[in-house]
Amino acid sequence: MKDKVATLEQAVALVSDGDVVALQNMATQAAPMALVRELIRQRKRGIGLVVLVGGMAVDWLATAGVIDRLIGAAVTMEQFGLCQQYRRAVEGGRVRVEELSESLLNARLGAGARNLPFLPTRGALGTDLIALNPDNLQLIEDPFGGDTVLACRALVPDVALVHAHRADRYGNVQYEPTAIWPDIAIMPKAAKRVLVTVEEIVDTDVLRRNPDRTILPGFTVDAVVEVPYGAHPTSFFPNYGYDAVFHRRWTEVARDDARAKDFIDRYVLAPINQQEYLHAAGGAAALQRIADWEEGA
C-alpha cells in the first residue's frame, strides 16, 4: 500500500484556486480546522465550499476571502449565534449561496459518490429552494407511475477535508463511536481527492483490532496528516469538547471587520504549527477545559 503521510502544507497544496472543497463540520462539531487554517495561510482564492452545517470555519474562510460560493444546508455556530463574517459576505454579494436541505445535499453527494447523474428525494417539495436552483434540482415524474420526486444532480467536489480519530500511514481512517454525519459517511466518497487530518497516526495493527471502526479505506485517501486537536475549537467526541471560551472570543470580534482580520492574523497566520496555534489559543488550560467536557455537561 502507498504511504500517504504528508505535512499540512503538502496536503493543502493539493487544493487549487477555484476548487469545490467539501468540509466536514456540524455547527460546533468536528471541523478539520488545521486544514482550514492552512487554506487561509496558503491564500487560496475562489473556493466553493460544500458543507452540511458550517460553523466558525466558514466564518474564518469568509473573513480571509478564501470562499466565493457555498453549497450547504446551514451556517451557524448554534449556541454562539450566527456566523457574522459569513453573513456579511453573503449580504454584500461576496459569497453566493446554493442552499440545499440536508436530504438534497445527501442526494447530490450520494449521486456523486455512485457516479449517477442524480438521485431523487421527496425532501423540500413545496419550498422555494427548488425554483432557485434549476441547474441542480428538477421535479421529475416517477417512471413507475408514482408521485413526483425531486431529482438532485450529482455533486463531485474536487477535494474533501476530513478530521478523524486515527489512521495508519496508508490512509485507512478510523473513527471512535460518536456522531457520524454525512461529511464522513458519504461526502469523501464523492470527492476526487480526500485530505485527512487525524488525532494520531498508528500502526496498521491498531486498526486491525477494531476493523468495524474503519470508515474510509486508504485507496480513497490522498494525504493523511497527524494533527492532535486538529478540530479545535470545535468538538471531537469522545476526545474533546468544543472550546466555548474560544468561540466567544471569536464572536466578540466577528462583527467588526478589522478586529476579525486581527484575530485571523493572531490565531491563523502567526502560529507556524499546531503547537504554536494551541499555545495561542490558550495552551494547557484550554486543553484541560475541553478534555473535561463530560464534567461540564
Binding site: M26, A27, T28, Q29, V53, G72, A73, A74, V75, T76, E78, Q79, G81, L82, Y86, R87, V90, E91, G93, R96, V97, E99, S101, E102, S103, L104, N106, G110, T121, R122, G123, A124, L125, G126, T127, D128, L129, L132, D147, T148, P177, T178, A179, I180, W181, P182, A185, I186, S235, F237, P238, G241, Y242, A244, W293, E294, G296, A297
Partner: protein
C-alpha cells in the same frame, strides 16, 4: 420518577418558558418518535418532561444522533454529545437517520423553530428580504427543515418571541413548507402532514381545517386577545368558542422542569436569543 404530576394542582409561580414546555409536552404521546435539532431547548425540555410523566414510551432521538439517551440535565447545546449521553444507539445520519425520517412510517412529529412563520404555517430560516442573493439578513439556512416539512410530518412550531416580525402575512422565503397558499394547496402537491399548532410566549394557535389559516386557540394567562392580535403581522382567526386561557403547568411539572430536567435554565435561552 414522581407520579404526582397528574393530580398536582396548578402552579402559581410558573414562567412562560415552563408554560411553553408543558403545552408542547402535551402534544407528544406514548408510541410517538421525536427528534430534536440545534438550539431547541424548549422542545428538548418538552420531550424529557413527557417521558418523565404521561409518555414514558415516547421515543427520543437526541440531536437526531442518540437513541433513548440519558442526559444528566439539559446541557448548553442541544447538538453536542452531552445531550446524547448513554444512548442505546448512535444513528449514522446519512444512512440511518434520514432513512427513518424520509420513510413515512417513523418519526412522525417534529418541533420547528423559525425566524419567520406565516399565516399558513410556512417557515423561513433562510433570508430576510426579497432578493435571495442580496438579502437584508442572511439567516442560518434550512438545514433539515425543508425535508421534515415536506414528508408527511406533523409540525409543532415554537416561537418564544411572538411579534409582527416573526409572525408575518407571507414569509420572504419558504424554507419549510406549511400549507403554502392555504386551502388544499399542500394536499394538491401530495404532501401529507403539516403544521398542527404554534406555541408562542403569548398564546397557542392552530390552523383552520378548511382555509388552513392560523387561528387563536388559547391565550396565556395575563395576556389578551387584543394583545396577541397586535403582536401578530396578520389577522388571526378566532375559534367559535372564543379563546380560552391556556392551561397552566402543574406544580409537579414545574418542579420536574426546574429541579430535574433543566436546573441550569437552558430553556430560557430560547427566549433571550430571538
Amino acid at each position: 420518577m414522581s407520579d404526582d404530576w397528574r393530580s398536582s394542582p396548578p402552579a402559581m409561580d410558573y414562567s412562560v418558558d415552563e408554560l411553553m414546555v408543558t403545552v408542547l409536552a402535551d402534544q407528544f404521546h406514548d408510541g410517538d418518535q421525536a427528534c430534536n435539532g440545534m438550539a431547541s431547548f424548549i422542545p428538548v425540555a418538552a420531550f424529557m418532561l413527557a417521558r418523565a410523566t404521561h409518555a414514558p414510551e415516547l421515543v427520543w432521538l437526541a440531536s437526531s444522533v442518540g437513541l433513548e439517551p440519558r442526559p444528566k440535565r439539559i446541557p448548553a447545546s442541544t447538538l453536542e454529545a452531552p445531550l446524547w449521553r448513554d444512548s442505546v444507539m448512535y444513528l449514522e445520519q446519512y444512512s440511518d437517520f434520514w432513512t427513518y425520517v424520509l420513510n413515512g412510517r417513523w418519526i412522525g412529529k417534529f418541533c420547528v423553530g423559525a425566524a419567520q412563520l406565516d399565516q399558513y404555517g410556512n417557515a423561513n430560516n433562510s433570508v430576510i428580504g426579497t432578493d435571495y442573493h442580496a438579502p437584508k439578513v442572511r439567516l442560518p439556512g434550512t438545514a433539515g427543515l425543508a425535508d421534515l416539512c415536506s414528508i408527511g410530518k406533523q409540525l409543532y412550531y415554537w416561537n418564544p418571541n411572538h411579534s409582527p416580525r416573526s409572525l408575518v402575512a407571507r414569509v420572504d422565503f419558504i424554507s419549510g413548507a406549511g400549507y403554502l397558499d392555504g386551502g388544499d394547496a399542500r394536499e394538491r402537491l401530495g404532501l401529507g402532514g403539516g403544521p398542527q399548532i404554534v406555541v408562542s410566549n403569548l398564546a397557542v394557535m392552530d390552523f383552520h381545517p378548511d382555509s388552513k389559516r392560523m387561528r387563536l386557540k388559547s391565550v396565556h394567562p395575563g395576556h389578551t386577545v387584543e394583545e396577541v392580535q397586535a403582536a401578530t403581522g396578520f389577522e388571526l382567526l378566532l375559534s367559535e368558542d372564543g379563546a380560552p386561557e391556556t392551561q397552566v403547568p402543574t406544580q409537579a411539572q414545574v418542579r420536574l422542569i426546574r429541579d430535574v430536567i433543566d436546573p441550569d435554565g437552558m430553556r430560557k435561552r430560547d427566549l433571550r436569543r430571538r
